[in-house]
Symmetry: D2
C-alpha cells in the first residue's frame, strides 16, 4: 500500500505539533503505515524551506494552494490561524484530500457550516484537533463511565483556566478585539466542551454570564483602548439525560497555566481530573466499608490504552504532544475505514453551535435551548 | 465584674459545640471573663439533666421559656432545629438577653425579619453561628485581600459539597420535604454566602439552576416518595464592585465530606482555600521571576491570629470545634462593646434574602437583582 | 463518686494544653467524671494566680511541692521543662498521686529509670504525653494494620521535620547546648518513635548519622559560638518481625512546620500519613482491577473513633489540642482501671533507651542492638 | 555536513525510546542535523526487519557486529540487556563509533572499567542513558541551586520506589537471582544517584541496610525458591561539602509506580520534586513575611529550558519519552564538540562504584569511604 502523503499548512506551535505526530506515529503504534511527509506551506518562502528541513518534509511552498494541488498529498494538516481554516479546509476537501484541521472550525458559524457541507460532499475524512479527548486517562474515564463505575452521572463541573490575559498591564492586542471572537468562550471553552461531548454528548440548554476583568488595556504606542470581548465566562448548562453542568472558562485566572478541571458526580461515586496533571485522575467509589472510602489517585498506566504503546511501565507519564500522536493514529484509522475516536466536522459544528448559544444567552440574559442537532 | 450567665437551648451537635466553646473560651483567650454556665434546656427533662452534668451547667429544664426567664442568664445559645429559632430568639431578646443563634435564622423570610426587628428593639447583641468566617486562615485571607496582596479581585468561585444525600437508596426523610426548604440552597449555601459576605460584601444579582439528582426515594415502610426539593444548586452571581462569582452547592456529591472550596482571582494573584483542609490556604502572587511563580501552600501559623492563642507553633492545626471558641470570644467582645468580627442578625438576614432570591431566579428562569439592603 | 482533683504544674504551652483538656474532657466524652481543677503551680506567684483564673483552677501556688502535698489533688499534670520532670514526677508518685507527665521523661537515662521505679512502687498511673498516638486517624491506621488491610508490614519510613532551627542567623540559645541533649534525636525523634512503638512495637537495632547544618551561630551579644549538638539525625533501624525502617528527624528543614510523615509498606498495600494534614491518611490496597488501583485519601470521620465524640460529620477536622483531650480521657480510664491506650513510663523508658542507642551508634559508627526490654 | 548515521541495537522499550528520539530530535530542536536512521539490529532477523520498518531504519540485521561494521553508522545506540552492554559498547568504540548506551554500564565493575578505558582510547563520545537529569524541571532546579535560591544545601533525601516486586505471589524470575545484581541497589538506585551526581557531585561515604521483604517466591512449575537479592535498600550517605543524604530504594513498595522523590534542604529554603509528577516542583524560600511563606508548586514552563522547544505555553507537560529526545540532542551536541549536559562513561563508572560500595557496606556492616575518584 502506498504510504499516505502528508501536507502541512502552518508551522506555528500546532504546525510543529502535527509534524511531530506525523514523524512519530508509525514508531509509536507500529500498526499504521509510516506516512510520507510531502509538502509544507508557510507564508514566507524562506521560513517554509527552513521548517520543511526541520520537520522532515520533502518540499516547501509559500503558496498553500500549490500544496493542496499537489497530487502526492493525501492528507492536509491545517494549523493556521482560525480565520483561514474555512478557506483552506474547503479547498482541500474540494481537491479530494482528507483534512485534519485545528480547532475551532471558524469564527463565523456560517463558515463552519460550509466547512461541514463541503466535507460531507467530498466523502473524505474531516477531523478537528481536539486532542484532549485522546489522553489515555480520559479514554479510561469514558470506559469507567460506560461500565457504570460511578453509577448514573447527574452533575458535572468543568473549569478551564489560564493566566495569559491575567496581567492588566499586558498591552492590547488582537485577542481583545471583537473580531477575534467572544473571548474565553470560543478561545477556550471549546476544549472543555469537547470533553463534555466525548463523555456525555451535547449540551442542550445554557445560560451564560461573561465578564471583562479589565475594561481597557494600555496600547504599546501609548494611551489605552477598550477591551471588546470577555476574558471570562461562566455557564449553567443542561446536558442530555438531565445532567446539570457548570462550565467556567477564564483566561485571566492568575496561577492557572493549563487547567481543565473536571468533576463528575454520579449515583455511586465521583471522578476528578485536571489537565495540569494529565497523567492521573481520581476515583471515588461508594462501596466497601465507609471508614476506608476516599478519592483514589490513579496514575496513568499501560492498562489505560494506548499508554502502553508509549511506555510499558505505569507512572512514567505522557506529555501534551503525545496526545497529538494518538490523534494522528485515530485519523489514519478513520482514513482506513477503521473505527476511530475523533471529533469530526459534524461534531465540531455542534460544539461551535453551543458556543454561539452561550454568547446569545448572555446578551439576551436568558436560557437558550440548543436542541439536539 | 459579674461573670456572664449562660443559657443553652438544645444539646444536639451544635449544642455540644456551644458548650465546648463556653467551657474553653477563657482558658484559650485569657482576655475575657470566664462565663458561668447557668441553665440548659432540652425537650426531655432527663436528657436535659444528663446533658447539664456533661456540659457543666448548673441547672437544667425541659421548658426553654423557664431558661429565658431565668434572671441569672445573660446570654442564650439557641441551637435547636431551624424552625424553632425565631420563637426562641425573639423571646430571649424580648426578655433582655443577648442571643447567639445557629444559622440560618428561619425557614420563612418573614420570621427572620421579625427576629431582626426584635433584636434591634432590644438593643442586645444578636449573633449568628457562621463559624467558618472565624478560621484564622480565613481571617488572614481577608487581611491579605485588604492589603491588595492579589490586587483587585475580579472573579470568585465557591463550591460547597457533601455527600450525605448522595446515595439514592437513602430513605426519604424530612430533609427532602419542601417544608424543610429549598434543599442545598438554604441547607448549605448560606455557609459559602457568609464567606462571600465576609470577604466581599453582599450578593447583588443572581441566576440559579437547581437539580434533583434523584426524583424519588424509597420509604422505610416500603414504596417510594417524590423528592420535593433540590439537592444541588448552581448560581451565577454578581457581587459588589463588578466581581463575577459562581456558587455551587451539592449535598449529593459523592466523596465530598465538608468541602467549601474557594477560588479568588485578582489583578495580581489568586487565593485558594478548601474547608476540608482548613489549616492551609494557597496564594499565588504574580511578582518576581516568572520561572518561580506558583501557588504557595501556607500552613496555619501563629501569625494568623488568633491561631496563636491555641498553639504557639505553626503547622499543628486547629479543629472545627475551635472555630466556635473563636466565635464565642467575638460574641463576648461584642457584648462588651468591643470591636468584633461576627455575623449579626442584620447581616444574616441579607444572606437569607440572597437565598430566597436565588430560589426565585430558578423558578422564574431569569436574573434577579437583589439590590443593596 | 468523688470527682478527680487535678493539679497542674507549669503553664507554658503544654500547661495550657492540659488545662484545655481537663476543662473539656467531660463535655466531649460524657462517659467520665468531670474533674475538679484544684491546684495550679507556676514559679511566679502572680503568674500562678493569673493562670489559675484563666484555666479555671481553684488555688494557685509558686511552690509545686505544696501542690503535691495538697490532699485534694489526685492527679498531677507535669508540664515543666524536661530537666524538672524527674523530681516532680517522683515526688508526686511518692505522695500517692497519679502522674501525667509531658515527654520525654528526663534528659538522663538514669533519672528516667528512677521515675519508672518510683511509679511502679507507687502503684499509681504513670502516663507520658505522647499525644500523636491519640489521633483517631492513627488509631484507625492501627486497626487497619491489625486487620491485615495491607498484609504483613515489611518496611516503614518516618520523617519528622520542623524549621525553627533552619535559619543560620538564629542566635545561639540553649537548644544548641550539649546539656540540652543530642539535638533532633531527643528533641524530636521521640515523637515518631512513639508512633512506631504504637504501631509496631519497639526498635531492635539502629545505626545513626547525625549532622550539624551550621557549625556555629551568632551570639546576641556579638561573636559566635560553636553549636554543640545535632539539628538533624538519620537512622537505619530494624523493628520486630524483621521490619526495616528509616527514621529522619530534622529541626532545620526549611518549610516543614509540624511534619511527621509516615510511610508503611506491606505485602498487600501501603499506608501514608502526615501530621501536617492530621485529618486524613492514604491507603493503597492491591486488590481489584489494576487499572483503578491508587492511593485513597481518606478524611477523618466518625467511624474513626473517637472522632465521633467531637463531631458527628466526616471531613470537618480535629485540631492538635483535641488529641490532648483524648489522651486525658485515656488517662482517666487508666485511673479507673479500664483498658486504655496510653504510653506508660515503662513504654516511655524503652523509647528513651532507643534514643540513647541511636546516639551511641553515631559516636561509635556502628550498628547497636537494643534488644527486647 | 553529512548527517549522522545511526545504528540501533535492541528494540525493547529502550530501543523504541531511542528510535523515537532519533526520529524527533530535529523537529523538536531545529538546531541539530536530522540524523539518518541507517541500521537496526535485533537478535531475530524477522523481528529486526519489522522493527526497522516501524522505527524508520533503512537496514536491519540479526548480527549486531554487522551493524557496528557498517561504515554508514556513526553512532550506536546500545539498548540491549545489561549483560551485553560491555561487549557491544567496547566493539563500537573500537570501530570508531560514538556510543549511546543505556544505564547501568555493566553488572561487573571490571567490565564497566574496560568500557571506560576503551571509550577514552577511542576519543569518541560515550554517553549513558540517565535521562532523568534531562527533565527541564531538573535542569531548572540545578540552576536554582547554582544561584543560591535556597542558600547552601546541607541535607538531601531521595526515595525511588516502584511496586513491580511488591506482590509476594509473583513467581520467582531472573530479577531475584544473585546473578542479576544486588536488587534494588543496582536495578534502581543508579537513577537517584545520577540525580545526586548531577545536582551535588559524587557520594563520598555510605552505610547501607538491605532487606528482602519476601524470603522466597513461588516457582511457576510449583514449589518455592529462595530470593537471592534485596528488593529494598536504605543508605545513609555523605556527599561533598558535608551534605548529609539518605537514599531509599524499594522495588516492592505497593502503590509507587515511578516515584523518585527528592527533598533538598538548604540554609535559605528547600526544594521538592517527585518523578511521578515530573512536570512540577516545589520551592520554599525563607524570605518575605513569615505569614505568607510556603512551598510553591511551580509547573513546568517555557522558561525552564528546553521545555520551550516542545511547547510554548506553561503547564501543558512533557512526557517521559521527551526526556530521551533532550538527551539525544545533548549527545549530538557532544559529538559536535559543543557544551552538553550528559552522563559520560567516566561519570557513570563513579556512580557504579558507589553502588558497589553500598553493597559492601551492607555486607561488612560498616561505613565505607568511597573517596573522590
Amino acid at each position: 500500500m502506498k504510504p499516505l502523503g502528508i501536507g502541512l499548512i502552518g508551522t506555528g506551535y500546532m504546525g510543529k505539533c502535527h509534524a511531530l505526530a506525523w514523524n512519530a506515529v508509525k514508531t509509536v503504534f507500529g500498526d499504521v503505515e509510516r506516512p510520507r511527509l510531502v509538502h509544507l506551506a508557510e507564508a514566507n518562502a524562506g521560513l517554509a524551506e527552513a521548517r520543511a528541513s526541520e520537520f522532515g518534509f520533502e518540499k516547501s511552498t509559500a503558496d498553500w494552494r500549490a500544496l493542496i494541488a499537489d497530487p502526492e498529498v493525501d492528507v492536509v494538516s491545517v494549523t493556521t490561524p482560525n480565520q483561514f481554516h474555512a478557506e483552506m479546509a474547503i479547498a482541500a476537501h474540494e481537491a479530494g484530500k482528507h483534512v485534519w484541521c485545528e480547532k475551532p472550525m471558524a469564527p463565523a458559524y456560517a463558515d463552519a457550516e460550509r466547512m461541514l457541507e463541503t466535507a460531507e460532499r467530498s466523502g473524505k475524512v474531516a477531523v478537528l484537533g481536539y486532542n484532549y479527548i485522546q489522553n489515555p486517562v480520559m479514554q479510561h474515564i469514558r470506559t469507567l463511565l460506560g461500565e457504570g463505575a460511578i453509577g448514573t452521572v447527574n452533575h458535572v463541573r468543568v473549569e478551564m483556566d489560564e493566566d495569559f490575559m491575567a496581567d492588566p498591564d499586558v498591552f492590547f492586542y488582537w485577542k481583545s478585539e471583537l473580531a477575534a471572537g467572544y473571548g474565553a468562550l470560543d478561545d477556550f471553552a471549546v476544549h472543555p466542551l469537547s470533553l463534555l461531548w466525548y463523555l456525555f454528548g451535547h449540551v442542550e440548554a445554557v445560560i451564560t454570564d461573561m465578564v471583562k476583568p479589565y475594561a481597557d488595556r494600555p496600547l504599546s504606542a501609548g494611551g489605552r483602548r477598550a477591551v471588546e470581548n470577555h476574558d471570562a465566562a461562566n455557564v449553567l448548562m443542561r446536558l442530555g439525560g438531565g445532567i446539570s453542568a457548570v462550565l467556567m472558562a477564564n483566561r485571566a485566572a492568575w496561577g492557572r497555566k493549563g487547567r481543565i478541571a473536571l468533576q463528575i458526580y454520579g449515583s455511586k461515586g465521583a471522578i476528578l481530573y485536571d489537565q495540569e496533571r494529565m497523567n492521573e485522575f481520581e476515583l471515588y467509589q461508594a462501596d466497601g466499608r465507609g471508614s476506608e472510602q476516599g478519592f483514589r489517585k490513579i496514575l496513568a498506566a499501560p492498562a489505560h490504552r494506548p499508554y502502553d504503546r508509549f511506555i510499558p511501565a505505569p507512572g512514567h507519564g505522557l506529555g501534551f504532544n503525545d496526545l497529538k500522536i494518538i490523534e494522528c493514529r485515530e485519523l489514519i484509522r478513520a482514513i482506513s475505514g477503521e473505527p476511530s475516536s475523533i471529533v469530526t466536522f459534524k461534531d465540531g459544528l455542534r460544539i461551535e453551535k453551543s458556543v454561539h448559544a452561550m454568547a446569545q444567552s448572555f446578551h439576551e440574559r436568558r436560557w437558550i435551548e440548543i436542541g439536539r442537532m
